[in-house]
């Protein structure tokens, strides 16, 4: 594997994760529990789409074959997506969405923080831009975790169930392969073993404050590095990709 191949793959991982989570959040449009929350969820979606665009565009630049952000978003099949398994989990009820977003935002927050020091100038610049936005996402979801966890008996039980159900997808966030190995050596990528420690601290702090229990690590579902996804990603892509595939001549 060349450094160029590794860098393309790394950009796709970051871009795909933001794209898929952004699409999930867009599904909340007009379905939020309150008007303010509807606006918050869709604003988060907008930030994520913006981040996805910059990373996918950069993947195309590194590849040098003229592929654009749209080519990557609309003309790949599910096995060619490298988003985290957590990002594709269905929205469920509001608590499920908040739990997923929280576990994910804590990951992206620490990942982008580390990537601001990347030796690849473009990655460092995009990470510092994204970090500012993800900081707001993390605050938004962590405050809800506390509000629901430390709320009523019913809200406490529901958000605990949501965390428990999603826990098996958190192991996938931190798996690494030869792409990471190569790019870490070059000072470009972040070591996910280090990110895991920081993520643990943040998650523990918030769960404790929310009077919630951290689930015990059991079986962890993995697959993002190989593009192995849950069935739900196919349904998401079918909706997201339908128009440009059915009408290839359509333009913005």
């Amino acid at each position: 594997m060349t450094q160029q191949d590794a860098l393309i793959n790394y950009c796709l991982r970051l871009g795909d994760t933001s794209l898929i989570l952004g699409q999930r959040m867009a599904e909340w449009t007009s379905n939020g529990p309150t008007l303010e929350e509807d606006i918050a969820l869709t604003n988060i979606s907008l930030d994520l789409f913006g981040q996805a665009r910059t990373f996918l565009t950069y993947a195309g630049e590194v590849e040098g074959k003229g592929r654009t952000e749209d080519d990557f978003a609309y003309h790949r099949n599910e096995r060619e997506f490298y988003n985290t398994l957590l990002s594709e989990r269905p929205n469920g009820h509001f608590g499920d969405t908040i739990a997923r977003n929280f576990l994910h935002a804590a990951f992206l927050y620490h990942l982008y923080s580390a990537l601001t020091k990347s030796k690849d100038d473009k990655i460092a610049a995009l990470a510092s831009k994204s970090l500012k936005e993800v900081t707001y996402h993390l605050r938004h979801s962590s405050e809800w975790i506390v509000r629901l966890g430390d709320g009523t008996v019913e809200s406490h039980q529901k958000i605990q169930d949501s965390i428990n159900d999603l826990w098996m997808f958190t192991g996938d966030l931190f798996v690494m392969n030869e792409v990471d190995e190569l790019l870490i050596k070059e000072g470009i990528a972040a070591n996910l073993n280090e990110i895991k420690k920081l993520w643990d601290n943040t998650v523990n702090e918030v769960l404790q404050r929310a009077t919630l229990k951290r689930p015990i690590d059991g079986f962890m579902q993995k697959g993002r590095l190989e593009g192995r996804h849950a069935e739900c990603l196919g349904h998401l892509l079918a909706e997201m990709q339908f128009l440009p595939r059915a009408y290839p001549d359509a333009t913005w």
Binding site: E37, I39, A40, G50, S128, K129, E143
Partner: protein, 167 residues
């Protein structure tokens, strides 16, 4: 025609200083700090801008407006460059614009305030109500009508208002 003989950097800067923000028409792209660089070449003018938020829908409009404006001023060949580093911050909004925001009914970002903290920081301590000037206000939602704003409510005059949040 040679652009180098015909225009100065300040002139082009002034042209672009007339372009209003599409969402907040009282301030311009120069006020916001979105315009970063102007480079005049013999046959081309390169304009460098930076996005406020990654997903800000106004960026495409900014690009179109910049081209349109320069075309009307006789500059046909315009190249737009987007830079991401250093990342845009609300600290770049100039003081005159902060005042304009306030008069328009949007509480300006409280510079260097602690709403840049990560967990459990409910925005800056004091956001002044742009309607009545009261300091007794509360955060209703971190996300407002656009990506750059949060929603507040005044406890004195009871009016809701937008706060241009710090990033």
């Amino acid at each position: 025609m040679n652009y180098l003989n015909k225009y100065t950097r300040q002139q082009i800067w002034d042209f672009l200083a007339e372009i209003p923000d599409p969402e907040i028409p009282v301030i311009t792209i120069v006020d916001l700090g979105v315009l970063r660089e102007i480079e005049i070449l013999p046959k081309k003018v390169i304009i460098t801008i930076t996005p406020t938020y990654s997903g800000c829908p106004a960026m495409k409009l900014f690009e179109d407006e910049i081209k349109k404006k320069l075309h009307t001023e006789g500059i046909e060949n315009v190249e737009l460059k987007m830079v991401y580093s250093p990342a845009w911050t609300t600290d770049w909004i100039n003081d005159a614009a902060l005042e304009k925001l306030k008069n328009y009914g949007i509480a300006p970002p409280v510079k260097g305030s602690e709403d840049k903290g990560v967990l459990f920081k409910n925005g800056p301590k004091v956001v002044q109500c742009p309607q009545c000037g009261s300091n007794e206000t509360e955060l209703k939602s971190q996300f407002g009508s656009t990506a750059c704003k949060a929603l507040y409510q005044c406890k004195d005059c009871l009016e809701p208002f937008d706060y241009f949040k710090c990033i």
